[in-house]
Symmetry: C2
Subunit: 350 residues, 2 copies
């Protein structure tokens, strides 16, 4: 293997030393006019600035990072391989990317390490100044580690105990509640919740657990019959679960989906000759761009994922900039957006 520097063709670029020489000042002076951490006489400052201009000097972030122990980089982890299946999470990334770029930070993306310590190490080794976590569990070991070691981070999602942590999340309990109320208002008496997968529930995935609790509470309160269906986000599986539901339960007339399950659900209703929304109502909790892409568009609670990703990054950047100690906590409560005219009363089985 040849020396890497060679293949990279990395040019020897102009450094602070060059511009110090040209300006006839000390290296440190250049550093100080750049950082502004010390006052510099107007004259020398101008000379330095001119030299910078003339030689077209650009700082070397990596060297700066090593010396200052700061990288202006934020790390973000994707749930591993099957990630392509969840566009909502991709949208978080898009939002976070935009925010980091706007603030002259950069975003380091990698698949989620299995070991929580590895993510702490990432910042300890200077690869990132802070971390954004998603797929949060109610009791999340990653959050514990990060807290314990004192590293800055923000969450998309939120734990059971959130003292001192910054996060942005959709209020899933509220979303489920509003969805059920909406369906009850349409006259439905028996509704299904297509919740996140059983694995997610077992692991304690925050939205899944909160969603289930809220669903059970609100259906009981309204005297509805609630059918809780953990279901993966894949098309074949959500299709199968829906077919099973429609065949075995003729009085269920509505469903709420928490993720990508609306795909298989819609295909299954169609194949079963059950018409949406005339015979069967569907409420989806999903990013608006996906709700809108269907024809007819889906009624539901909008999960503004792009904005959430952006805010998660921004609150972390604020923290890195030395902002107050009080954490930012954003719990999004959106009203239901009606995108398809739904028959007031369910036709099916009723």
């Amino acid at each position: 293997m040849r020396p890497v520097s060679e293949q990279l063709g990395e040019r020897r670029s102009v450094t602070m030393a060059h511009i110090a020489e040209r300006a006839g000042v000390a290296l440190s002076t250049v550093s100080y006019v750049l950082s502004g951490k010390r006052s510099v006489s107007k004259e020398t400052r101008v000379r330095v600035l001119e030299a910078i201009e003339d030689l077209d000097y650009r700082p070397h972030p990596r060297a700066r990072a090593l010396a200052s122990r700061t990288s202006r980089t934020i790390a973000l982890f994707l749930p591993s391989p099957a990630w392509s299946l969840l566009p909502v999470q991709q949208t978080f990334v898009a939002g976070a990317t935009q925010a980091t770029s706007e603030h002259d930070y950069s975003l380091r993306l990698s698949t989620a390490p299995s070991d929580p310590d590895m993510i702490a190490e990432l910042v300890e080794k200077g690869r990132a100044d802070g971390v954004i976590l998603m797929e949060i569990l109610l009791h999340d070991p990653r959050v514990e580690v990060l807290k314990a070691r004192g590293h800055p981070f923000s969450l998309i999602g939120h734990c059971e105990d959130n003292t001192g942590v910054s996060f942005v999340d959709l209020d899933f309990a509220d979303a489920i509640r509003k969805s059920v109320v909406h369906l009850a208002g349409l006259g439905h008496r028996r509704v299904a919740l297509f919740n996140f997968s059983a694995e997610a529930l077992d692991a304690g995935y925050c939205s899944a657990v909160r969603g289930r609790a809220a669903f059970e509470a609100i259906t009981a309160e309204l005297g509805l019959e609630g059918i809780h269906l953990p279901c993966p986000h894949t098309i074949p599986e959500s299709y199968a679960v829906t077919r099973q539901l429609l065949e075995s339960d003729s009085s269920c007339t509505a469903a709420i989906t928490t993720g990508w399950q609306f795909t298989g659900l819609l295909a299954a209703t169609r194949d079963a000759q059950v018409h949406v929304p005339e015979d069967f109502s569907v409420v989806a909790i999903i990013a608006p761009q996906f709700a809108e892409m269907l024809a007819p568009a889906l009624t539901g609670i909008d999960w503004p994922a792009f904005e959430a990703g952006k805010q998660a990054a921004e609150m972390l950047i604020d923290k890195l900039a030395g902002a107050e100690e009080t954490p930012t906590q954003i719990l999004i409560r959106n009203d239901l957006t009606v995108r398809q005219s739904t028959a007031a009363a369910p036709q099916r089985g009723g």
Copy 2:
């Protein structure tokens, strides 16, 4: 503003010096057992490895990067703000992320710099070893700059002249050709192409330009009437273009979409009481997970975006690892996947 190092809480961790001392060897020896760039006697190697184990030493990538002029990082740029609208591109990122993580690289994401020189600088300043570009133009200044300065890169998309450059791309010309042939086979005589936007065409966006050319050629060859419609990917605009088409042109019975336009198109056909696929055929060029999410699913050419992102990263990593000089060029030609049973003859206006 307090010193950043303080708020970061970055622990002073064990360095190579510590382990050199404990193992009773020179600093460089430690470096060499780690890198394997020089043979080390089994005895000392073992002592060093033990010391590493005992002290729980982990290398510091940033320092390594500065010294070696290599960062094990790949940069990827997103088309700025409106990015949330194009899920296909998000999927590229997902694929690239997976590949980089698998190879122990990391992915640096940022919004696309307006100045091509800035992206070259990114690698010159050591923030990345190589670059992945998307949204490629037939004559792309970024590619020119990268080539000229000798920086490693790979493309998702491909230019007019691709000598020496590695890329992965869907063969859009082939995709359009197959789509038109398919539609012609169904008996359609007048078909529309919902191409990328006029801006994209003007800029010379590779897929758009190639698509148009192929469309014109194949419709002429088959004696069909082709309607070329540049159209943005947004739902309102694709909706409007479709309504306009349906109202002004009663003999057009089929359409091909190149991106996200199928969303507005389907909504518009529905509102216009035009049934898909009975009255009107639609062929979409889109990532399979999106084609499948509709009910009924969309017939079309699959754009395996996740795989493409992955391959683009892998070919770049190979290059960085010092692989051969011969570029990898992957032009994906997929057959049309029929997902909805289409009436053999168009009903509308015919």
